[in-house]
């Protein structure tokens, strides 16, 4: 059962990865008994399955995913939401209101208007229709404060970490509320803009170094160092009596 690359080597679309006895994993396809890569990424051979961890890929909706989206249109009976995917998502008025929609009485823009950000869950999606969203669960709904950062969707699992280890650390070290959208958007909401800035900086670092080991500890250290430096600066200015 021949393989043609070493683990974690960079491959490009059309690269021949394996022959015959292997099974096709993510971002690969089989043709005439040969398995090829479909995207640029790092090849992985796990037991008898060959897959490619894509370095560049867009988000494809999945039922059950929590996503962050932006309202781009208010329609007759609901909203059209941009979830940074090939398909636009829909949120029905009846879902947001938790009861049937009454066109004469209910003013949709007052609930969500163009430009609003929402956290929602995908309840339905298949090849024949655009994803359908719900905001009926307690943690879902309109976003009213915070800053957002875009992350390549394939690196979102790294921001969460094994059993949530990374995101727990981030929340502790920065004191921010962090909401993760599977579609590659992360919302950070802290007590001060400075806390938010630390969290955003940390998330960008995670994205850049997603496949290095020991990342959780190094990011924690970086945040502590930044906080420490800031405190030193503040103390110095207090002493010299200068105001910022």
């Amino acid at each position: 059962m021949p393989v043609f690359y070493e683990r974690r080597q960079l491959v490009t679309p059309g690269d021949l990865l394996a022959e015959n006895d292997y099974m096709t994993g993510e971002n690969t396809y089989r043709e005439n008994g040969k398995i090829y890569a479909t995207r640029v990424g790092l090849v992985d051979y796990e037991e008898r399955r060959v897959s490619v961890v894509a370095l560049k890929a867009f988000y494809l909706p999945m039922v059950g995913d929590t996503i962050i989206g932006k309202v781009i249109e208010v329609g007759m009976s609901g909203w059209t939401i941009d979830i940074r995917a090939p398909y636009l998502a829909m949120l029905r008025a009846s879902d947001a209101l938790e009861r049937p929609f009454r066109p004469q009485k209910d003013d949709l823009p007052s609930i969500f208007d163009v430009g609003d950000l929402v956290i929602a869950k995908i309840v339905a999606y298949d090849r024949t229709r655009d994803p359908l969203l719900t905001i009926l669960e307690p943690s879902l709904g309109k976003i009213t404060r915070g800053q957002m950062v875009e992350v390549t969707p394939t690196k979102i699992p790294r921001v969460i970490g094994k059993k949530g280890s990374m995101i727990t650390m981030l929340k502790q070290e920065t004191g921010c509320q962090i909401t993760i959208g599977q579609n590659g958007l992360v919302l950070v909401s802290g007590k001060t803009p400075e806390d938010e800035r630390l969290a955003l900086m940390a998330i960008r670092k995670i994205e850049q170094e997603a496949h290095k080991s020991g990342l959780t500890d190094r990011v924690a250290e970086m945040i502590r160092r930044e906080k420490g430096e800031k405190e030193v600066v503040e103390n110095v200015t207090k002493e010299t009596g200068k105001t910022d």
Binding site: K70, V114, G115, L117, T144, G146, Q147
Partner: protein, 266 residues
């Protein structure tokens, strides 16, 4: 990938709040332009060319000089024609097709700056009065739209004109005979456009895409090498007070001098 280039509402609010306090999201000062990169002579087929990167906005300008007919009312002058294309690859919102009002306005603002400042001596481009003149085509190609296409296009057009070389020629019996060698196109003036956006009643120079989305109005001033205003264009649905216009003028003259130094090497 995103279906809409409009920034989310909470981000727009933040940008506006920061500006009310004299700050900007990318930490620039209210009168600062983004980082500028200028490259010239990239298109050898063109008589002149230049590419400007203003932050992430990217504009390529090519200059072609051809023989043509003069306008009936100015038979002794060459022709300047400026055209702008908002090429679809520059933004998810640009569609292929004939020029829309935005690309026409862009072309005309840049045109006015060059024409009114008399940067090109059109009289020197006449070969046979009433019959044959040289036509200077300035073609603006927007490659990436991240705000303030006007300043980027005007700067690239000037850089491209400064880079332009015309073939040498003789006129024999009304026919143009090309001789070996090239002569730089003589430019008598160096117009620079400076654009302001009005947000929360404050003026900021060089608005980037998300600042443009929340601005009340925009004001472009084109300043020549002697500090004279040679073209002006207000855009958008809002308005400026006379006070604001004067304020903008002072800043524009200063900024134009700074930007001019990037393009014109003495």
């Amino acid at each position: 990938m995103t279906a809409s280039i409009m920034a989310a509402r909470i981000k727009q609010k933040r940008i506006a709040q920061l500006i009310a306090h004299g700050k900007r999201l990318d930490e620039r000062g209210p009168n600062d332009h983004r980082q500028i990169q200028i490259e010239t002579g990239l298109i050898e087929r063109a008589e002149g060319s230049a590419r400007v990167r203003l932050g992430k906005t990217e504009v390529l300008v090519g200059i072609k000089i051809e023989v043509g007919e003069p306008f009936l009312d100015v038979p002794n002058e060459g022709v300047l024609t400026v055209n702008a294309e908002l090429v679809p690859l520059a933004s998810p919102t640009f569609e292929a097709g004939p020029p829309d009002e935005n690309s026409i306005e862009l072309a005309r603002i840049v045109d006015r700056g060059i024409r009114e400042s008399k940067a090109i001596d059109l009289g020197s481009l006449c070969v046979e009065p009433g019959k044959k003149v040289f036509v200077v085509f300035v073609d603006i190609y927007v490659l990436n739209h991240d705000g303030n296409l006007i300043d980027a296009s005007a700067l690239a057009s000037l850089a491209a004109l400064l880079n332009t070389k015309m073939f040498n020629y003789d006129v024999k019996e009304g026919e143009i005979k090309i001789k070996p060698g090239y002569t730089p196109l003589p430019l008598r003036n160096h117009p620079i456009a400076v654009t302001f956006a009005k947000i929360n009643d404050k003026l900021i120079a060089d608005p980037w895409l998300e600042e443009e989305q929340i601005m009340d109005a925009r004001l472009t001033m084109t300043v020549d090498k002697d500090g004279k205003i040679c073209a002006l264009q207000k855009g958008g649905y809002g308005y400026f007070t006379t006070q604001q216009v004067f304020e903008a003028t002072k800043i524009a003259v200063e900024k134009a001098e700074e930007l001019r130094k990037l393009v014109v090497k003495e």
